[in-house]
Amino acid sequence: MSTEGRMRELLTVLAPESLDIADDSAAHAGHQGARSGGGHFVITIVSPRFQGQDRVARHRLVYAALGNLMRKEIHALSIRAFTPDEI
């Protein structure tokens, strides 16, 4: 399964109402950090789980859900996390 597919699967624990994952790796190919082969991704996720959580807490929830993928497969990640009320 692609990294994106695995991310999507792992993020189901947050019960997202919507989840958009953009693979931005091509824009970064060749720079130093990209040599390890890890991808650059941009996640936009809407979940009721973010209710009452500040930004740092929301990002930690996403990082925790992605777990070991953060070690190697994902080199860089931008996160935009919203509750359903915020969109």
């Binding site: 130093q32 950090g33 930004r55 740092v56 990002h59 930690r60 990082y63 070690r71 860089a76 996160i79």
Partner: protein
């Protein structure tokens, strides 16, 4: 001294601490460059920057310290503020300027 102690000393010993890849003059990652640019736009003159590419133990240790798996990481008066996305958002809505002012 353990790595965690070193980090604690760095973040509490300086007002604004940025763990980054590269240096403020020569950032080696777009996210780190973004963090430096934002701090400069906020008028911060006294960034205490730690280049994690030259300090592998800190690079690993800082992820555990804040329970945050990515770099850059900004600390103000010893408090973890966030990474590149969070700094961008806080800068755009004026929160970061307030945090920095309060810490002046």
């Amino acid at each position: 001294m353990s790595v965690q102690d070193t980090i604690r000393q760095q973040v509490t010993g300086h007002r604004v601490v940025l763990y980054m890849k590269g240096t403020p003059d020569f950032p080696q990652c777009g996210f780190s460059a973004n963090a430096v640019r934002i701090l400069q736009m906020c008028g911060v003159q006294d960034i205490f920057a730690v280049n994690v590419l030259e300090e592998p133990e800190i690079r690993q240790g800082i992820k555990e310290y804040a329970n945050w798996p990515t770099i850059p990481q900004l600390y103000v008066n010893g408090e973890f503020v966030g990474g590149s996305d969070i700094l961008t958002e806080m800068f755009q809505n004026g929160e970061l300027q307030k945090v920095l002012k309060k810490a002046a």
